[in-house]
């Protein structure tokens, strides 16, 4: 699967693949992101934690342009995010994959066609080639035999794994995971997290908003605690979970144990 993950990069190794500078975002008068600075290195796995309303999902959605921000700059693979330019957005979104809480598979297409759609349309890949890639990716997430199934015939965990395969088919440099296990029954969470973990092991750059603290602790290189629209605390998981410095993080972590 190395071919899928070693997408060509325009950034020298060691340089940040995502660079966010002084990013501010408001909904009307309500400022939800109050100046975010963040650099994500290639191959880094970052978990974003925090209370609901702290702006963590909004931050993630800014990175692939689902949300527009008013101030600041954001580059992916050294390409700036420009909302006004459809061509620039299309370029950027090919480098950034996203997986959603509610899977968002296309219900009218088979699992295989879900995975093949974007590569054939956007990358103009020939059908047989796209199909071979889709079969490989579905095997990769343990769903080789579901190629011809419809999404509504699958369990939530299976649907989310198809969504991961679909995102990987575009060979993104960064994968954004927005609470991808929150809509799943508890017994299905493991199968999805195992796939994410294997992606992390293979060197995929991951940014994930998650409520699975054990998972964040185990897989991530860096944990970001967001509070009231700012990066409140940031560091290696052992440090952040082991000895939180700010009272807000202490409170947040202790509230999880109640």
């Amino acid at each position: 699967m190395a071919a899928v993950l070693d997408a060509p990069s325009h950034v020298a190794p060691g340089a940040p693949i995502v660079r966010i500078t002084a990013l501010k975002k408001s909904y009307g008068a309500n400022q939800v992101l109050k100046g975010i600075d963040l650099e994500v290195l290639r191959g880094e796995v970052i978990a974003i934690i925090g209370k609901s309303g702290s702006g963590k999902s909004t931050l993630l959605r800014c990175i692939n342009g689902l949300e527009e921000f008013q101030e600041g700059a954001l580059t992916v693979d050294a390409k700036p995010l420009l909302h006004e330019s459809a061509a620039a957005m299309r370029e950027l979104r090919q480098r950034v994959g996203m997986i959603f809480q509610s899977f968002n598979l296309f219900p009218h297409l088979t699992v295989g066609r879900n995975v093949m759609l974007a590569p054939t349309l956007v990358k103009k890949r020939a059908r047989p080639e796209a199909e071979a890639q889709a079969r490989k990716l579905l095997a990769r997430v343990g769903l080789a035999e579901k190629f011809d199934a419809m999404p509504d015939q699958l369990s939530g965990g299976q649907q989310q794994r198809v969504a991961i395969a679909r995102a990987l088919a575009m060979e993104p440099a960064v994968l954004l995971c927005d609470e991808i296990t929150s809509a799943l029954d508890p017994e299905l969470v493991g199968e999805v997290l195992r796939v994410v973990e294997s992606l992390a092991d293979e060197g995929m750059t991951l940014l994930m908003v998650t409520h699975e603290m054990n998972f964040a602790r185990k897989v991530s290189d860096r944990v970001i605690f967001m509070h009231q629209g700012r990066v409140h605390e940031m560091g290696p998981p052992a440090e952040l979970f082991g000895s939180p410095k700010t009272p807000e993080l202490k409170q947040f972590l202790s509230s999880l144990h109640d």
Partner: protein
């Protein structure tokens, strides 16, 4: 004075029924095309396009079809444009149909969850690709039943074209009633003909509704 048999009545009504069918088809095809164009403008265009089209929809939904027919027949003539009853009826029904269809279809597109736009957008699909490959295939499924249902309204609506002198089945009916002095028989026949046109369409709409509902989770 000549005697009219029931067959004479039926034959003449059936001949006029052709024009009811043709007018319905024109209204539906023309209205469908204009409605689709307005839908595209509405989805793509900015706030101004949205507002203008919403106004257009309100105008045609908020006035009787009868007035729209009068206005297109007499109004255009006032402006110096000579229109036949044919053209006036076709134009008025096309615009009327387009206003209703664009509104029905807009609702169907709006019923597609936002996540479908977001997922297809983050896979780098362009607006056109999103619409064509993700949104419309799903929207069409839910649009079929209300669209076919509206066709029934249009078929019955063509009866109003008789007031501007267009000879379709209703107008033919009143003309025949005047010469035969058998209005009840004639209009009963006319009513039955409308029923024969509309009932199968309604049945088909119901069938489609059941089918699409069945295939949804």
């Amino acid at each position: 004075m000549t005697e009219f048999t029931l067959w004479d009545i039926l034959r003449n009504l059936l001949l006029a029924l052709r024009w009811t069918v043709v007018l319905s088809l024109i209204a539906f095809v023309g209205g469908g095309l204009v409605g689709a164009l307005l839908l595209a403008l509405r989805l793509r265009g900015g706030r101004l396009a949205e507002r203008l089209i919403a106004g257009y929809v309100q105008l045609f939904q908020g006035t009787p079809l009868l007035m729209q027919l009068f206005l297109s027949y007499f109004g255009l003539a006032l402006l110096g444009i000579e229109v036949s009853a044919w053209t006036a009826a076709a134009v008025a029904l096309t615009l009327y149909t387009s206003a209703f269809l664009t509104e029905i279809w807009r609702g169907c597109v709006a019923a597609i969850p936002k996540g479908q736009w977001e997922a297809s957008g983050s896979l780098a699909l362009s607006f056109g690709e999103q619409l064509r490959h993700v949104i419309l295939p799903q929207a069409v499924k839910i649009a079929i039943a209300p669209t076919v249902g509206f066709l029934v309204q249009v078929i019955k609506g063509t009866a109003l074209a008789s007031v501007i002198g267009f000879v379709e089945v209703t107008k033919a009916g009143s003309m025949i009633a005047n010469v035969t002095f058998r209005p009840f028989t004639v209009f009963a026949c006319v009513a039955l003909m409308y029923f024969a046109l509309c009932f199968p369409v309604s049945l088909y709409a119901r069938h489609l509704e059941r089918k699409t509902r069945g295939s949804r989770p």
